[in-house]
Symmetry: C3
Subunit: 140 residues, 3 copies
Protein backbone atom coordinates (compact mmCIF):
# COMPACT_ATOMS: atom_id res chain seq x y z
CA UNK A 1 0.00 0.00 0.00
CA UNK A 2 1.20 3.49 -0.92
CA UNK A 3 0.15 6.71 0.75
CA UNK A 4 0.54 10.40 -0.07
CA UNK A 5 -0.07 13.34 2.27
CA UNK A 6 -0.31 17.03 1.43
CA UNK A 7 -1.56 20.06 3.34
CA UNK A 8 -2.82 22.73 0.94
CA UNK A 9 -2.95 26.32 2.22
CA UNK A 10 -5.60 28.91 1.43
CA UNK A 11 -6.24 32.48 2.44
CA UNK A 12 -9.69 33.57 1.31
CA UNK A 13 -10.19 37.36 1.17
CA UNK A 14 -13.92 37.19 1.97
CA UNK A 15 -15.49 36.01 5.19
CA UNK A 16 -17.48 33.35 3.26
CA UNK A 17 -16.50 31.99 -0.14
CA UNK A 18 -16.07 28.78 -2.13
CA UNK A 19 -12.86 27.88 -3.98
CA UNK A 20 -12.65 25.14 -6.62
CA UNK A 21 -9.66 23.00 -5.54
CA UNK A 22 -10.20 20.07 -7.93
CA UNK A 23 -7.07 20.68 -10.01
CA UNK A 24 -4.90 20.91 -6.88
CA UNK A 25 -6.24 17.57 -5.64
CA UNK A 26 -5.67 16.04 -9.10
CA UNK A 27 -2.09 17.28 -9.01
CA UNK A 28 -1.51 15.54 -5.67
CA UNK A 29 -3.01 12.36 -7.12
CA UNK A 30 -0.51 12.52 -10.00
CA UNK A 31 2.36 13.05 -7.53
CA UNK A 32 1.20 10.06 -5.50
CA UNK A 33 1.45 7.63 -8.39
CA UNK A 34 -1.57 5.82 -6.94
CA UNK A 35 -3.84 4.13 -9.51
CA UNK A 36 -6.51 2.43 -7.35
CA UNK A 37 -7.55 3.64 -3.92
CA UNK A 38 -9.29 6.34 -1.91
CA UNK A 39 -8.60 10.08 -1.69
CA UNK A 40 -9.64 11.95 1.46
CA UNK A 41 -9.90 15.75 1.28
CA UNK A 42 -10.86 17.57 4.49
CA UNK A 43 -10.81 21.02 6.03
CA UNK A 44 -8.28 21.08 8.89
CA UNK A 45 -10.16 23.99 10.49
CA UNK A 46 -13.56 23.77 12.12
CA UNK A 47 -15.04 26.88 10.50
CA UNK A 48 -14.51 25.57 6.97
CA UNK A 49 -15.77 22.76 4.75
CA UNK A 50 -14.73 20.60 1.85
CA UNK A 51 -17.65 19.55 -0.34
CA UNK A 52 -18.47 18.39 -3.87
CA UNK A 53 -21.00 20.21 -5.98
CA UNK A 54 -21.40 22.37 -9.10
CA UNK A 55 -19.00 25.12 -10.21
CA UNK A 56 -21.81 27.56 -10.97
CA UNK A 57 -21.63 31.11 -9.52
CA UNK A 58 -25.41 31.44 -9.19
CA UNK A 59 -25.57 28.29 -7.08
CA UNK A 60 -22.76 29.53 -4.85
CA UNK A 61 -24.66 32.77 -4.33
CA UNK A 62 -27.73 30.69 -3.41
CA UNK A 63 -25.71 28.62 -0.94
CA UNK A 64 -24.36 31.74 0.75
CA UNK A 65 -27.83 33.23 1.22
CA UNK A 66 -29.25 29.90 2.41
CA UNK A 67 -26.46 29.32 4.93
CA UNK A 68 -26.91 32.88 6.18
CA UNK A 69 -30.62 32.13 6.74
CA UNK A 70 -29.92 28.82 8.51
CA UNK A 71 -27.11 30.22 10.71
CA UNK A 72 -26.82 34.03 10.52
CA UNK A 73 -23.58 35.84 11.27
CA UNK A 74 -24.08 37.58 14.60
CA UNK A 75 -21.00 38.56 16.63
CA UNK A 76 -23.09 39.58 19.64
CA UNK A 77 -23.07 37.27 22.68
CA UNK A 78 -26.90 37.11 22.60
CA UNK A 79 -27.67 34.69 19.78
CA UNK A 80 -24.66 32.39 20.17
CA UNK A 81 -23.13 31.35 23.48
CA UNK A 82 -19.91 30.55 21.62
CA UNK A 83 -19.45 34.27 20.98
CA UNK A 84 -19.23 34.87 24.76
CA UNK A 85 -15.72 33.41 24.54
CA UNK A 86 -14.56 36.49 22.62
CA UNK A 87 -15.00 34.76 19.25
CA UNK A 88 -17.40 36.11 16.61
CA UNK A 89 -17.55 32.99 14.43
CA UNK A 90 -20.22 30.74 15.99
CA UNK A 91 -22.21 31.00 12.75
CA UNK A 92 -19.24 29.59 10.83
CA UNK A 93 -19.17 26.47 13.04
CA UNK A 94 -22.85 25.92 12.16
CA UNK A 95 -22.47 26.56 8.42
CA UNK A 96 -19.62 24.05 8.31
CA UNK A 97 -21.89 21.31 9.71
CA UNK A 98 -24.39 21.84 6.86
CA UNK A 99 -21.72 21.76 4.14
CA UNK A 100 -19.61 19.02 5.77
CA UNK A 101 -15.96 18.58 6.77
CA UNK A 102 -14.67 16.18 4.16
CA UNK A 103 -15.12 14.19 0.99
CA UNK A 104 -13.78 10.75 0.11
CA UNK A 105 -13.29 10.21 -3.62
CA UNK A 106 -12.64 6.92 -5.44
CA UNK A 107 -9.36 6.71 -7.38
CA UNK A 108 -9.68 4.48 -10.49
CA UNK A 109 -6.99 4.02 -13.15
CA UNK A 110 -5.08 6.98 -11.70
CA UNK A 111 -7.99 9.46 -11.88
CA UNK A 112 -10.56 10.87 -9.46
CA UNK A 113 -13.55 8.70 -10.44
CA UNK A 114 -16.11 11.47 -10.82
CA UNK A 115 -19.56 11.89 -12.31
CA UNK A 116 -20.05 14.54 -15.02
CA UNK A 117 -20.30 17.67 -12.84
CA UNK A 118 -18.49 16.76 -9.61
CA UNK A 119 -15.99 19.39 -8.52
CA UNK A 120 -14.28 19.70 -5.12
CA UNK A 121 -14.67 22.97 -3.21
CA UNK A 122 -13.06 24.49 -0.18
CA UNK A 123 -15.82 26.30 1.70
CA UNK A 124 -14.63 29.14 3.91
CA UNK A 125 -16.96 30.58 6.57
CA UNK A 126 -14.48 32.61 8.64
CA UNK A 127 -11.88 33.78 6.15
CA UNK A 128 -9.22 36.44 5.86
CA UNK A 129 -6.61 34.21 7.47
CA UNK A 130 -4.45 31.26 6.43
CA UNK A 131 -6.10 27.85 6.61
CA UNK A 132 -5.20 24.33 5.59
CA UNK A 133 -6.84 21.48 3.68
CA UNK A 134 -5.64 17.88 3.99
CA UNK A 135 -5.23 15.65 0.96
CA UNK A 136 -4.52 12.01 1.90
CA UNK A 137 -4.45 9.33 -0.76
CA UNK A 138 -4.00 5.62 -0.05
CA UNK A 139 -3.92 2.73 -2.49
CA UNK A 140 -1.67 1.08 -5.03
CA UNK B 1 -4.33 -4.42 -1.40
CA UNK B 2 -7.36 -5.34 -3.50
CA UNK B 3 -9.87 -2.92 -4.95
CA UNK B 4 -13.27 -3.27 -6.58
CA UNK B 5 -15.16 -0.59 -8.54
CA UNK B 6 -18.76 -0.59 -9.68
CA UNK B 7 -21.09 2.12 -10.99
CA UNK B 8 -24.71 1.28 -10.17
CA UNK B 9 -27.40 2.93 -12.31
CA UNK B 10 -30.79 4.19 -11.11
CA UNK B 11 -33.73 5.89 -12.74
CA UNK B 12 -36.16 7.13 -10.10
CA UNK B 13 -39.66 7.87 -11.41
CA UNK B 14 -40.37 10.62 -8.87
CA UNK B 15 -38.59 13.94 -8.58
CA UNK B 16 -37.60 13.11 -4.95
CA UNK B 17 -37.40 9.59 -3.53
CA UNK B 18 -35.21 7.27 -1.45
CA UNK B 19 -34.15 3.81 -2.66
CA UNK B 20 -32.68 1.15 -0.36
CA UNK B 21 -29.49 0.00 -2.14
CA UNK B 22 -27.99 -2.05 0.71
CA UNK B 23 -28.34 -5.42 -1.01
CA UNK B 24 -26.69 -4.11 -4.20
CA UNK B 25 -23.73 -2.82 -2.19
CA UNK B 26 -23.51 -6.18 -0.35
CA UNK B 27 -23.47 -7.96 -3.70
CA UNK B 28 -20.51 -5.85 -4.84
CA UNK B 29 -18.74 -6.63 -1.58
CA UNK B 30 -19.20 -10.37 -2.25
CA UNK B 31 -17.85 -9.93 -5.79
CA UNK B 32 -14.83 -8.07 -4.46
CA UNK B 33 -13.70 -10.92 -2.22
CA UNK B 34 -12.49 -8.27 0.27
CA UNK B 35 -12.69 -9.31 3.93
CA UNK B 36 -11.20 -6.30 5.77
CA UNK B 37 -11.28 -2.74 4.45
CA UNK B 38 -13.44 0.25 3.63
CA UNK B 39 -16.41 0.59 1.27
CA UNK B 40 -17.17 4.01 -0.23
CA UNK B 41 -20.64 4.57 -1.70
CA UNK B 42 -21.33 7.98 -3.27
CA UNK B 43 -23.74 9.71 -5.60
CA UNK B 44 -21.94 10.59 -8.85
CA UNK B 45 -24.46 13.40 -9.47
CA UNK B 46 -24.69 16.63 -7.52
CA UNK B 47 -28.48 16.62 -7.10
CA UNK B 48 -28.49 13.26 -5.31
CA UNK B 49 -27.26 11.77 -2.03
CA UNK B 50 -26.15 8.51 -0.52
CA UNK B 51 -26.95 8.26 3.18
CA UNK B 52 -27.51 5.71 5.93
CA UNK B 53 -30.67 5.72 7.99
CA UNK B 54 -33.85 3.75 8.73
CA UNK B 55 -35.94 1.88 6.14
CA UNK B 56 -39.23 3.23 7.50
CA UNK B 57 -41.72 4.82 5.06
CA UNK B 58 -43.06 7.32 7.63
CA UNK B 59 -39.54 8.64 8.25
CA UNK B 60 -38.93 9.00 4.53
CA UNK B 61 -42.17 10.99 4.24
CA UNK B 62 -40.93 13.18 7.12
CA UNK B 63 -37.55 13.72 5.41
CA UNK B 64 -39.25 14.79 2.17
CA UNK B 65 -41.44 17.36 3.91
CA UNK B 66 -38.51 18.64 6.00
CA UNK B 67 -36.18 18.99 2.99
CA UNK B 68 -38.97 20.78 1.13
CA UNK B 69 -39.24 23.24 4.04
CA UNK B 70 -35.47 23.78 4.24
CA UNK B 71 -35.00 24.18 0.45
CA UNK B 72 -38.32 24.40 -1.44
CA UNK B 73 -38.63 23.42 -5.09
CA UNK B 74 -39.06 26.68 -7.02
CA UNK B 75 -38.21 26.69 -10.73
CA UNK B 76 -38.58 30.48 -10.97
CA UNK B 77 -35.43 32.59 -11.29
CA UNK B 78 -36.48 34.67 -8.26
CA UNK B 79 -35.68 32.47 -5.29
CA UNK B 80 -32.59 30.73 -6.68
CA UNK B 81 -29.97 32.39 -8.89
CA UNK B 82 -29.00 28.92 -10.13
CA UNK B 83 -32.35 28.69 -11.92
CA UNK B 84 -31.39 31.71 -14.07
CA UNK B 85 -29.12 29.32 -15.97
CA UNK B 86 -32.19 27.56 -17.41
CA UNK B 87 -32.07 24.82 -14.74
CA UNK B 88 -34.98 24.27 -12.34
CA UNK B 89 -33.11 22.14 -9.80
CA UNK B 90 -31.37 24.57 -7.44
CA UNK B 91 -33.42 23.13 -4.57
CA UNK B 92 -31.99 19.67 -5.31
CA UNK B 93 -28.41 20.97 -4.93
CA UNK B 94 -29.39 22.26 -1.46
CA UNK B 95 -31.24 19.13 -0.36
CA UNK B 96 -28.23 17.02 -1.32
CA UNK B 97 -25.99 19.05 1.04
CA UNK B 98 -28.30 18.25 3.99
CA UNK B 99 -28.44 14.52 3.22
CA UNK B 100 -24.78 14.21 2.16
CA UNK B 101 -22.91 12.89 -0.90
CA UNK B 102 -21.41 9.69 0.43
CA UNK B 103 -20.99 7.09 3.12
CA UNK B 104 -17.90 5.10 4.09
CA UNK B 105 -18.68 1.73 5.65
CA UNK B 106 -16.29 -0.58 7.49
CA UNK B 107 -15.84 -4.06 6.00
CA UNK B 108 -15.14 -6.71 8.66
CA UNK B 109 -14.92 -10.47 8.03
CA UNK B 110 -16.38 -9.95 4.55
CA UNK B 111 -19.51 -8.07 5.71
CA UNK B 112 -20.62 -4.43 5.94
CA UNK B 113 -20.00 -3.85 9.66
CA UNK B 114 -23.35 -2.28 10.50
CA UNK B 115 -25.32 -1.45 13.61
CA UNK B 116 -28.81 -2.96 14.01
CA UNK B 117 -30.81 -0.58 11.77
CA UNK B 118 -28.25 0.83 9.34
CA UNK B 119 -29.38 0.68 5.69
CA UNK B 120 -27.85 2.50 2.71
CA UNK B 121 -30.12 4.75 0.64
CA UNK B 122 -29.80 6.48 -2.67
CA UNK B 123 -31.54 9.86 -2.26
CA UNK B 124 -32.82 11.39 -5.47
CA UNK B 125 -33.78 15.08 -5.58
CA UNK B 126 -34.02 15.64 -9.34
CA UNK B 127 -35.17 12.32 -10.73
CA UNK B 128 -36.82 10.95 -13.86
CA UNK B 129 -33.46 10.42 -15.54
CA UNK B 130 -30.61 7.91 -15.36
CA UNK B 131 -28.06 8.51 -12.60
CA UNK B 132 -25.09 6.64 -11.21
CA UNK B 133 -23.81 5.61 -7.78
CA UNK B 134 -20.17 4.66 -7.18
CA UNK B 135 -19.25 1.64 -5.07
CA UNK B 136 -15.50 1.45 -4.36
CA UNK B 137 -14.14 -1.14 -1.97
CA UNK B 138 -10.48 -1.37 -0.93
CA UNK B 139 -8.85 -3.80 1.46
CA UNK B 140 -7.67 -7.39 1.65
CA UNK C 1 -2.28 -3.77 4.58
CA UNK C 2 -3.20 -3.86 8.27
CA UNK C 3 -6.64 -3.26 9.72
CA UNK C 4 -8.00 -2.67 13.21
CA UNK C 5 -11.65 -2.77 14.30
CA UNK C 6 -13.18 -1.63 17.56
CA UNK C 7 -16.74 -0.97 18.68
CA UNK C 8 -16.81 1.64 21.45
CA UNK C 9 -19.89 1.69 23.72
CA UNK C 10 -21.57 4.77 25.18
CA UNK C 11 -24.56 5.39 27.37
CA UNK C 12 -25.40 9.09 27.46
CA UNK C 13 -27.60 10.15 30.38
CA UNK C 14 -29.26 13.02 28.50
CA UNK C 15 -31.51 12.73 25.47
CA UNK C 16 -29.13 14.97 23.47
CA UNK C 17 -25.45 15.48 24.28
CA UNK C 18 -21.98 15.56 22.75
CA UNK C 19 -19.08 13.46 24.08
CA UNK C 20 -15.44 14.08 23.15
CA UNK C 21 -14.13 10.65 22.05
CA UNK C 22 -10.80 11.80 20.56
CA UNK C 23 -8.62 10.10 23.17
CA UNK C 24 -10.46 6.79 22.74
CA UNK C 25 -9.91 6.90 18.99
CA UNK C 26 -6.23 7.78 19.54
CA UNK C 27 -5.91 4.79 21.84
CA UNK C 28 -7.29 2.48 19.13
CA UNK C 29 -4.83 3.99 16.65
CA UNK C 30 -1.95 3.15 19.04
CA UNK C 31 -3.26 -0.41 19.42
CA UNK C 32 -3.46 -0.79 15.63
CA UNK C 33 0.21 -0.04 15.09
CA UNK C 34 -0.79 1.67 11.82
CA UNK C 35 1.44 4.59 10.78
CA UNK C 36 -0.06 5.67 7.42
CA UNK C 37 -3.69 5.19 6.45
CA UNK C 38 -7.29 6.17 7.08
CA UNK C 39 -9.37 6.03 10.25
CA UNK C 40 -13.16 5.75 9.94
CA UNK C 41 -15.26 6.64 13.00
CA UNK C 42 -19.03 6.27 12.66
CA UNK C 43 -22.16 6.02 14.76
CA UNK C 44 -23.61 2.50 14.47
CA UNK C 45 -27.06 3.85 15.37
CA UNK C 46 -29.23 6.04 13.17
CA UNK C 47 -30.22 8.54 15.85
CA UNK C 48 -26.61 9.51 16.61
CA UNK C 49 -23.69 11.23 14.87
CA UNK C 50 -19.94 11.33 14.84
CA UNK C 51 -18.57 14.74 13.89
CA UNK C 52 -15.48 16.90 14.24
CA UNK C 53 -15.67 20.36 15.72
CA UNK C 54 -14.64 22.47 18.71
CA UNK C 55 -14.61 21.29 22.34
CA UNK C 56 -16.29 24.46 23.61
CA UNK C 57 -19.37 24.15 25.86
CA UNK C 58 -20.97 27.37 24.57
CA UNK C 59 -20.83 26.07 21.00
CA UNK C 60 -22.36 22.77 22.07
CA UNK C 61 -25.20 24.66 23.73
CA UNK C 62 -25.66 26.62 20.47
CA UNK C 63 -25.75 23.40 18.44
CA UNK C 64 -28.41 21.91 20.70
CA UNK C 65 -30.68 24.96 20.39
CA UNK C 66 -30.12 25.14 16.63
CA UNK C 67 -30.86 21.45 16.06
CA UNK C 68 -33.98 21.79 18.20
CA UNK C 69 -35.11 24.66 15.95
CA UNK C 70 -34.36 22.76 12.74
CA UNK C 71 -35.98 19.50 13.93
CA UNK C 72 -37.91 19.89 17.19
CA UNK C 73 -38.52 16.97 19.55
CA UNK C 74 -42.22 16.15 19.24
CA UNK C 75 -43.37 12.66 20.29
CA UNK C 76 -46.89 13.25 18.94
CA UNK C 77 -47.91 11.48 15.70
CA UNK C 78 -48.90 14.85 14.16
CA UNK C 79 -45.62 16.46 13.22
CA UNK C 80 -43.67 13.31 12.32
CA UNK C 81 -45.16 10.30 10.55
CA UNK C 82 -42.29 8.21 11.97
CA UNK C 83 -43.78 8.66 15.44
CA UNK C 84 -46.93 6.82 14.30
CA UNK C 85 -44.86 3.62 14.54
CA UNK C 86 -44.80 3.97 18.34
CA UNK C 87 -41.38 5.63 18.29
CA UNK C 88 -40.87 9.16 19.67
CA UNK C 89 -37.47 9.83 18.08
CA UNK C 90 -38.19 11.10 14.56
CA UNK C 91 -36.48 14.39 15.48
CA UNK C 92 -33.30 12.46 16.32
CA UNK C 93 -33.19 10.91 12.81
CA UNK C 94 -33.33 14.46 11.39
CA UNK C 95 -30.73 15.94 13.75
CA UNK C 96 -28.33 13.12 12.85
CA UNK C 97 -28.53 14.06 9.15
CA UNK C 98 -27.42 17.64 9.93
CA UNK C 99 -24.50 16.54 12.11
CA UNK C 100 -23.52 13.54 9.94
CA UNK C 101 -22.92 9.82 10.53
CA UNK C 102 -19.17 9.55 10.23
CA UNK C 103 -15.76 11.11 9.90
CA UNK C 104 -12.71 9.83 8.05
CA UNK C 105 -9.41 11.02 9.47
CA UNK C 106 -5.96 10.82 7.88
CA UNK C 107 -3.34 8.83 9.82
CA UNK C 108 0.19 10.20 9.31
CA UNK C 109 3.30 9.01 11.16
CA UNK C 110 1.10 7.10 13.61
CA UNK C 111 -1.07 10.10 14.60
CA UNK C 112 -4.50 11.45 13.67
CA UNK C 113 -3.42 14.20 11.24
CA UNK C 114 -5.50 17.02 12.69
CA UNK C 115 -5.67 20.78 12.40
CA UNK C 116 -5.25 22.86 15.57
CA UNK C 117 -8.78 22.54 17.01
CA UNK C 118 -10.17 19.34 15.52
CA UNK C 119 -11.74 17.02 18.09
CA UNK C 120 -13.98 14.01 17.44
CA UNK C 121 -17.42 13.95 19.07
CA UNK C 122 -20.09 11.37 19.53
CA UNK C 123 -23.41 13.19 19.10
CA UNK C 124 -26.36 11.55 20.84
CA UNK C 125 -29.92 12.58 19.92
CA UNK C 126 -31.90 9.75 21.56
CA UNK C 127 -29.88 8.81 24.61
CA UNK C 128 -30.35 7.00 27.90
CA UNK C 129 -29.51 3.65 26.34
CA UNK C 130 -26.39 1.80 25.25
CA UNK C 131 -25.08 2.66 21.79
CA UNK C 132 -22.01 1.81 19.75
CA UNK C 133 -19.43 3.70 17.70
CA UNK C 134 -17.25 1.97 15.08
CA UNK C 135 -13.54 2.69 14.82
CA UNK C 136 -11.98 1.09 11.72
CA UNK C 137 -8.39 1.85 10.79
CA UNK C 138 -6.68 0.58 7.64
CA UNK C 139 -3.15 1.22 6.43
CA UNK C 140 0.42 0.18 7.10
Amino acid sequence: MKSHTKHLTFKVSERMDFINITSQVEEELRHSGIKEGLCLVNAMHITASVFINDDEPGLHRDYKRWLEELAPFDPSPDRYHHNRTGEDNADAHHKRQIMGREVVVAVTRGKLDFGPWEQIFYGEFDGRRQKRVMVKIIGE
